[in-house]
């Protein structure tokens, strides 16, 4: 009984912290429509800052607290709002998600730059020296008591703010319809700034309260709040009382698990994964949603042309060959992952880009693929690839079953929970047997080796041959993705993304469609993982955990998740540019960790993705046959010269990169010359008969409004 009480109190105190963080999350969600994945990271930064002021510089507690909670945190919230979030109006949930995930990645990087992760930082609880209060047979510390009181105050205060004050109502109104809020006279900018300031203060409060209880480490602290997410979801991201109840359920469950879970070699991982599993369960308990009606967003991904797709695939394959033949062995190892990561990123295109279903567990599927390859692909047996695709597709299909009920942010959280459950628990399991039939030893509690692939008697055991193989596989899969987008299935996915209700009333089987696209995407990711595995030759769970996977997701969206090019963009920046920058500028390499974060943060400015602009930029080349042919010839020529060793790699790379730029300029000039051939306005009707278009042009040029002219010219 004492033990029970003790763990109840521990559980309640934890619950209170979760409640504070979850309330902040719900506040920003209901008032700005953004589910802030970085809420925990803000708390983490605040905890570090507080440590700096209070324990490193020795400021008095109240001063340090006031400075962090009421000055720095709100200012930081306002900064986030002004610089980042303001650009996110009318963007899809995916875009918003990526921005906040990027913020999370960037902030973890930032904290590691400022506060060396290898130094330990002691952190005292509040009133650490005061005697705990006795409650019956057990005791409660002052810190625990304060935490619980704070949580209750926050819950009451927020409810009052959002439902009983005008600014609170205006916050919610601005989420519904921002232009209309302005027509009512509200100032949405001010309103959202206020919301972010408070949300950020709440995150800071939670961070400072939780920091003494765990090691002060950036990654752990930022993700600790998976439990807070579960509480927020319990409250449907809306109801503060329910959030509170959810926090208690989650916190106490965790408390009892740590008290009563039996000691057993299979279970320690379960305890680590329990917040994620709880989150998953809470998600499944959500009531059945109504079918989603139409959602509007700014993103638009144009239909890829057949010609463009073939050109893209050819280019990718050619690039693979060029890289394989020009790069040194160590470089090939460093940059070799571009295309395998690319395949994993590509698996997101049909799922996220077309169907609008967010998945944060693609890298986990890749991990499963790699395991399959390791265990079934002895001596590089290619049948293992087939198995990798089939098994991951089957698991993907199973994951999709709850997905019918989840969408948007809920689905993102569900898949993240799945990823965490895998990397904290399943992937760390020791050997076990299934029905006594086979023994499974996933990662052998460390790492497992993967044999290089053998295909048609050829073993892909050099980095160069792997590069060629992977680039061709990527190219083929990109053709598959384009074929899907152009075909029946692709249209269906886009339709479902727009309005599930309309699809159902047309007789579409929603579940079947979702399961299919999930399976397809998981299969692709599994294939990518298997190939990545055989390329790395030895893989461990760390290669496939959630945090490693987030930048792939984020950068693919930054590139433009509606097209294969976006996936390639993501992979190239992650597995190509970042290592390249690190090699070129070793002195700043530690700062590079925040780059993916920065890239994602800028997404709001261009939600259609970077590739969209690139494509527009290079369009003139494709439009002019002469320039296109010339470009290809020059590139091939350069390659030949390089192969003859007449130029070195740097010169070659530089020339290769400038060629398309020159081509764009040339194509534009050519076009302009041709455009000059168009009959000047003054001469129309003289040298040629008038057309309606001409009248319209004339109107536009002269700025005329009278329609008499229009009618007269026509008559």
């Amino acid at each position: 009984m004492d033990k029970f009480l003790t763990f109840t109190i521990v559980g309640l105190a934890t619950s209170a912290i979760y409640a504070v963080i979850a309330s902040g999350l719900v506040l920003t969600y209901t008032t700005t429509g953004i589910f802030n994945f970085a809420q925990g990271a803000i708390g983490m930064l605040a905890a570090f800052t507080y440590w700096q002021l209070r324990f490193s510089w020795g400021w008095p507690t109240p001063v340090a607290l006031i400075v962090v909670l009421f000055v720095l945190a709100p200012l930081f919230g306002i900064l986030i709002d002004r610089v980042i979030m303001r650009g996110l109006q009318d963007t899809s949930e995916t875009t918003k998600l990526v921005v906040s995930i990027s913020l999370l990645i960037g902030m973890i990087g930032l904290a590691q730059i400022i506060w060396d992760p290898n130094v330990s930082r002691p952190y005292a609880t509040f009133f650490a020296t005061s005697k705990p209060l006795a409650i019956g047979p057990t005791t409660i510390t002052w810190h625990q008591l304060i935490t619980i009181a704070v949580a209750i105050a926050v819950a009451i205060g927020l409810r009052f703010l959002l439902y009983a004050t005008r600014i609170g109502i205006a916050m919610r109104a601005a989420v519904d319809d921002r232009p209309l809020a302005t027509l009512n006279g509200a100032r949405p900018h001010r309103v959202s700034m206020f919301a972010w300031a408070i949300g950020s203060s709440l995150a800071a409060l939670g961070g400072i309260l939780i920091a003494p209880l765990v090691p002060l480490e950036a990654g752990t602290l930022s993700l600790l709040i998976i439990s807070a997410y579960a509480a927020a979801i319990f409250g449907r991201l809306r109801s503060f009382p329910l959030v509170f109840v959810g926090a208690i359920v989650v916190g106490c469950t965790e408390g009892y698990l740590s008290g009563y879970l039996p000691q057993n070699q299979y279970l320690p991982g379960l305890r680590l994964a329990s917040p994620a599993i709880l989150l998953f369960i809470v998600l499944l308990l959500l009531p059945n949603p109504r079918l989603r009606g139409r959602t509007r967003s700014r993103e638009f991904f144009p239909m890829p042309s057949r010609r463009g797709a073939l050109g893209f695939a050819a280019g990718v394959t050619a690039a693979g060959v060029v890289l394989a033949t020009t790069m040194s062995q160590p470089d090939l190892v460093t940059y070799g992952r571009v295309f395998s990561v690319g395949i994993i990123a590509l698996s997101l295109v049909p799922l996220v880009g077309f169907a609008g279903q967010v998945s944060l567990c693609q890298l986990s599927f890749a991990g499963i693929g790699a395991i399959v390859m390791a265990h079934l692909g002895h001596n590089g047996n290619p049948i293992a690839l087939v198995w990798a695709v089939l098994i991951t597709a089957a698991i993907g299909a199973v994951i999709a079953l709850p997905a019918l009920r989840l969408s948007g942010i809920y689905l993102a959280l569900g898949t993240a929970a799945f990823a965490i459950a895998l990397d904290r628990w399943i992937f760390t399991l020791p050997k076990f047997s299934v029905f006594g039939l086979f023994n499974i030893d996933l990662f052998q509690q460390g790492s497992v080796s993967v044999d290089p692939l053998r295909l048609f008697g050829f073993t892909f055991d050099t980095p160069g041959s792997q590069m060629v193989l992977l680039s061709s596989v990527f190219a083929l899969l990109s053709l598959l993705v384009v074929a899907i987008r152009r075909g029946r299935f692709g249209r269906r996915l886009l339709a479902m993304k727009d309005s599930e209700a309309a699809c159902a009333t047309l007789g579409l089987n929603l579940l079947g469609t979702k399961v299919t696209v999930f399976a397809l995407s998981a299969g692709m990711a599994g294939l990518g993982g298997a190939l990545l595995g055989s390329q790395l030759s030895s893989v461990s769970p760390q290669n496939f955990d959630l945090v490693t996977g987030l930048p792939i997701f984020a950068l693919a969206v930054v590139g433009g998740i509606g097209a294969a090019g976006g996936a390639l963009f993501g992979a190239v920046s992650l597995a190509g540019l970042l290592p390249l920058l690190a090699a070129l500028l070793p002195s700043v390499s530690q700062y590079l960790v925040i780059l993916p974060g920065l890239a994602g943060i800028g997404l709001g400015r261009n939600p259609n993705g970077a590739v969209h602009d690139l494509r527009e930029g290079f369009m003139p080349i494709a439009k002019s046959r002469i320039v296109l042919v010339a470009t290809v010839v020059v590139l091939a020529g350069l390659y030949a010269i390089r192969m003859l060793d007449a130029i070195d790699n740097w010169t070659y790379a530089l020339l290769t990169m400038t060629t398309p730029l020159v081509a764009v300029v040339a194509a534009t000039l050519l076009r302009r010359e041709r455009a000059d051939g168009v009959v000047p306005l003054e001469w129309r009707g003289v040298t040629e008969p008038w057309t309606d278009d001409d009248v319209r042009d004339l109107d536009r040029v002269l700025g005329l409004t009278e329609v008499e002219l229009h009618g007269a010219a026509r008559g």
Binding site: L291, R296, F300, L494, A495, A501, A502, A504, L506
Partner: protein, 241 residues
């Protein structure tokens, strides 16, 4: 036996009774009007018939077979199609693709020899969307969006077609053409149910009109009878005519 038979349907939202024992028949070859003041429950009735919201009591039958336990998808496959008062178009797709999706979906479950591409082109032609077929629906004015939704629902070749304010947002010319199209569809044997506030349109094209008020059917009859029914005038039409 009517093609679509609604019997004693009751729907409550919390304490509010949105539909209270509603009966409605829609017969093949006829345009059945459903009119009533705002908030009478017309859209709710469509939502119940298509299975998007559950009913508290009553039954819905298509060709004599009960549909109460079927999902929206299954009901669509039995031959039910609808449009939405608040447009539910696929904004990422062009006009042509919007219709094509529906034709493809139908081919997926009907497995008849129809050619979705041909069906799509024929519908674009028939509804008069040729000029905008490749435009994204987002850039179209509401009136044309309504037509795209109509085309999309026709692409599933429904037996019963439910139209929720299809003419709102259309100008007077478009409405004229639209009315003619509805009569044609009925003449081909479809059962059309029309919810609309444009009384002239309703009176011109409907064979039979149901009037809903506060969730109850207060009158059923031909347009002549409805226009002069004192209860309808008081609840809905205001000054007669």
């Amino acid at each position: 036996m009517a093609q679509l038979a609604v019997r004693g349907v009751t729907v409550r939202f919390g304490g509010n009774v949105a539909l209270d024992g509603v009966d409605l028949d829609a017969d093949p070859g006829m345009v059945t009007g459903l009119i009533g003041p705002n908030g009478a429950g017309k859209t709710t009735l469509f939502n119940v018939i298509t299975g998007l919201i559950p009913l508290n009591s009553g039954s819905i039958q298509l060709n004599g077979a009960p549909m109460n336990d079927l999902s929206p998808t299954k009901r669509a496959r039995r031959g039910l199609a609808r449009t939405f008062q608040r447009l539910e178009l696929f904004s990422l797709l062009s006009v042509r693709e919007n219709i094509r999706v529906a034709a493809d979906i139908r081919k997926g479950w009907a497995r008849d020899g129809s050619d979705p591409a041909a069906v799509t082109e024929a519908l674009i032609e028939r509804i008069g969307l040729g000029a905008v077929a490749d435009a994204r629906v987002d850039a179209l004015p509401t009136g044309q969006c309504r037509l795209v939704e109509l085309g999309r629902s026709l692409a599933t070749r429904p037996e019963v077609l439910l139209l929720d304010e299809p003419a709102s947002g259309q100008d007077e010319n478009e409405t004229l053409a639209f009315g003619a199209l509805l009569q044609e569809l009925a003449a081909e044997g479809m059962a059309v149910v029309l919810v609309e506030h444009d009384v002239h349109l309703v009176m011109r094209v409907c064979h039979k009109v149901h009037v809903l008020d506060f969730g109850r059917i207060i009158a059923v009859g031909d347009p002549q009878q409805i226009q002069t029914n004192p209860a309808v005038v008081a609840a809905y039409l205001g000054t007669p005519g």
